[in-house]
């Protein structure tokens, strides 16, 4: 390093008289003047900064930036001028002291920065791809050839563009050399265009009516593991906008389970002909069992039926038909029982005996519709109406097989203590065994519903038959003006709770079995 410096110094001394050409080119005087003025400007700016710092005033950035840009420009010009002749000179450090020592090696090195070096290398590789093996002269030739080809292509492209532009703007109607697109074609293209755009943006032309929608036997790979092929897993938007039943995860595995649960429910129905609030409670039971069956505790993954209260019966009907659920036929019919449920539910909260006449006609009509199959439910419907259970209930309890006549002739006794007593007696007369069997038939429902709401005010969930009978009798006797169904079915008791001041655990037990009616609980516990 030092040796080089000495050499350079000697060379500089030798060539002290500069080459006149270089001298002219460099125009040293002007450069010197400019350098001095630049130095003065910069020192002025620095002084300004000092003054600002001393006085702690906010600097006027706009002016300072202006001054800075002027200085910057001036420096740039000077450097440009010097660059032209810089090849003739070598700059070497004269004075190495503590400040310079660390920076000097970097400044003096001719090696590029690492990133720049990498860039350089990659570009060189790209350029000389495949040519590195050849001698340098050949490489140079090839590169030249490339450059020429590109230049030629650019020229021809520009020429053609210029020609076309002239032609286009020359003849305002469009160049004649181009093939004319006739109107028919244009119209066709236009039509296709609208078709395509509407298909993409709005889905026109891509929808199929529901009857044409059936799953192909083989789903594509990406859908095969998501959707089940056998299950009607798709839900297509229909005008009715009905609720969608979620599909079971494994259709086949579930259907026997579903059948089992359904059988259970239907078995229950059979065992207790006068049980529950007829169709309504039956449905509620079914629905609630279904609901709870979906809960994580239950092992099966049964189809989730929406809350029956909010749903119209038509939706139910339609849901059942297209889907491939394995509901037995008679349950479908039970569920199809159209207006009973809402009406009975509707009546639950009502305390009006005046409605009874209306109800009676309703019941009559319904009965006529469903004669022969569903008289049991009708009996329940009649029972469900507050205040109506008096007459018909005991009859129904005793004889599940009723004739039409008996039903009609028992219409609607108003509340009266006499009737109440009659019921009470009838209850006592009713074979307790039947009541008990009904109750026990209701028991299994609890097992299906593990999420039975607890905490019903200390309700005794296990209902020994004796206890129940006692309670029935108690209720029957304690309700002076109040109606109480001593219908064995606790659910029936629950039904009437909205109407009367019912005490006792029966309705609590009933409510247990019908979690749908949980909201009525507070009214129960009066």
């Amino acid at each position: 390093m030092i040796g080089v410096q000495e050499q350079q110094q000697q060379q500089a001394r030798v060539a002290e008289r500069l080459n006149p050409a270089v001298h002219q080119q460099l125009n040293l005087d002007s450069v010197k003047t400019r350098a001095i003025s630049l130095f003065k400007a910069i020192s002025r700016i620095l002084e300004d900064f000092d003054a600002i710092a001393r006085t702690n005033s906010t600097p006027k950035w706009h002016e300072i930036l202006g001054q800075f840009s002027m200085v910057n420009l001036e420096l740039f010009n000077i450097v440009e001028d010097i660059k032209n002749v810089s090849k003739a000179f070598i700059v070497h450090p004269k004075n190495v002291n503590a400040e310079n020592a660390t920076i000097l090696p970097i400044m003096l090195s001719s090696k590029l920065l690492p990133e720049m070096e990498m860039d350089d290398n990659t570009k060189r590789e790209q350029l000389l791809l495949g040519m590195q093996g050849l001698p340098v002269a050949l490489q140079i030739e090839r590169l030249k050839g490339r450059v020429d080809a590109i230049a030629a292509a650019c020229e021809s492209a520009e020429k053609i563009i210029a020609d076309t532009r002239k032609a286009y703007f020359g003849t305002r109607q469009g160049p004649n050399l181009l093939p004319a697109v006739d109107k028919a074609q244009a119209a066709k293209i236009q039509e296709q265009e609208t078709l395509l755009r509407s298909a993409v943006n709005h889905g026109e032309g891509l929808r199929f009516p529901s009857d044409q929608r059936h799953v192909t036997s083989a789903l594509p790979m990406h859908l095969a593991d998501i959707l089940n092929s056998g299950d009607g897993a798709y839900s297509f938007s229909e005008s009715s906008g009905m609720y969608q039943k979620s599909t079971p995860l494994s259709g086949n595995a579930n259907s026997p389970l579903l059948q089992a649960s359904v059988a259970q429910v239907t078995g229950r129905a059979a065992a207790s002909p006068s049980s529950a609030i007829g169709n309504t409670s039956f449905d509620n039971t079914t629905a609630s069992s279904m609901q709870f069956a979906n809960s994580p505790k239950s092992g099966t993954n049964i189809v989730n039926m929406p809350s029956p209260q909010q749903q119209s019966n038509q939706q139910l009907q339609r849901q059942l038909q297209p889907k491939k659920l394995m509901l037995p036929l008679h349950q479908q019919q039970l569920l199809n029982n159209p207006q009973l449920r809402p009406s009975s539910v509707h009546l639950l909260g009502q305390n009006q005996l005046s409605q009874m006449p209306d109800i009676s006609t309703q019941a009559q009509q319904k009965f006529q519709q469903m004669h022969g199959q569903q008289h049991v439910q009708y009996s329940q419907a009649l029972v469900a109406q507050p205040g109506r259970q008096l007459g018909s209930a005991p009859m129904h309890m005793g004889q599940p097989q009723l004739t039409q006549g008996s039903q009609m002739t028992r219409p609607l006794n108003q509340f009266s203590s006499a009737a109440n007593n009659a019921i009470y007696n009838a209850a006592q007369a009713t074979p307790a065994s039947q009541m008990i069997s009904n109750i026990s038939a209701m028991m299994p429902s609890q097992t299906v519903m593990p999420r039975m709401p607890l905490g019903m005010g200390g309700v005794n969930r296990t209902l020994p038959s004796q206890n129940l009978s006692d309670q029935i009798y108690n209720i029957g006797s304690s309700n002076a003006g109040g109606m109480m169904t001593q219908h064995s079915n606790p659910a029936a008791a629950f039904v009437s709770q909205g109407a009367q001041n019912i005490q006792g655990t029966i309705q609590n037990a009933a409510v247990q079995n019908h979690p749908n009616f949980q909201q009525q609980r507070p009214r129960n516990q009066q």
């Binding site: 492209a157 076309t164 990406h222 959707l227 906008g241």
Partner: protein
Amino acid sequence: MECVVQGIIETKHVEALEILLLGLSGVHKEILRTHELCLKSVPNLGSVSSEVRLLCDLEHAEPTWTVRHIGGAMRGTGAEQLSVLVTTMVESKVSKNALRLFYALGHKLDHELLRVGSSFCFYRGAHISVTVSSINKMPKLHATDEAVPVTPGLQLVQVTAPASSDNYSEVASAMSSFCEYLAPLLHLSKPGVHYLLNPKYSHYLLETMIRYFILWDAMCEDNI
């Protein structure tokens, strides 16, 4: 939000367009094969029915799912002056369970289509992505192997760029300036509006461009 314009191009010009895009963007095309399922919510869910699109990318070995919701378009005089359509858009990658989830939520399949083509994604003032694809419909449900084009002679060109509410005008201008480069081949417009194909001097210019770019392409790749 996103800015979007659409255009139509005849299938015979698609290759030229791809070369042009290659030259303009500097990126190679990515093959696109997407199964789009459009799900609509039932009227009882929410106050208005909404639409959600599930896109399944079938190109790679492992299908990936994306969910996209396109909201309302920007309206007003400012929006009319823009040459692009600005809509709210929310997009996310999801697992394959998304379809089951939406069915469980009550959505129904409204329609589905298969998009097959190529896409170019690059940055030119904005993150622009151009897709050139043929839209196919499936005669049977979900039968992606049996898809046929909706319009055999035409393909759809869609240029989109994500934007936010404070920079959408810059994005829109970047997109329009880019779309001007494609003017000889096709006319891009807002999805609701459409124009006739521009047959004027496109053929001539098209040939020129093809020649130019093929040459350029060749020189980049092979060894002279």
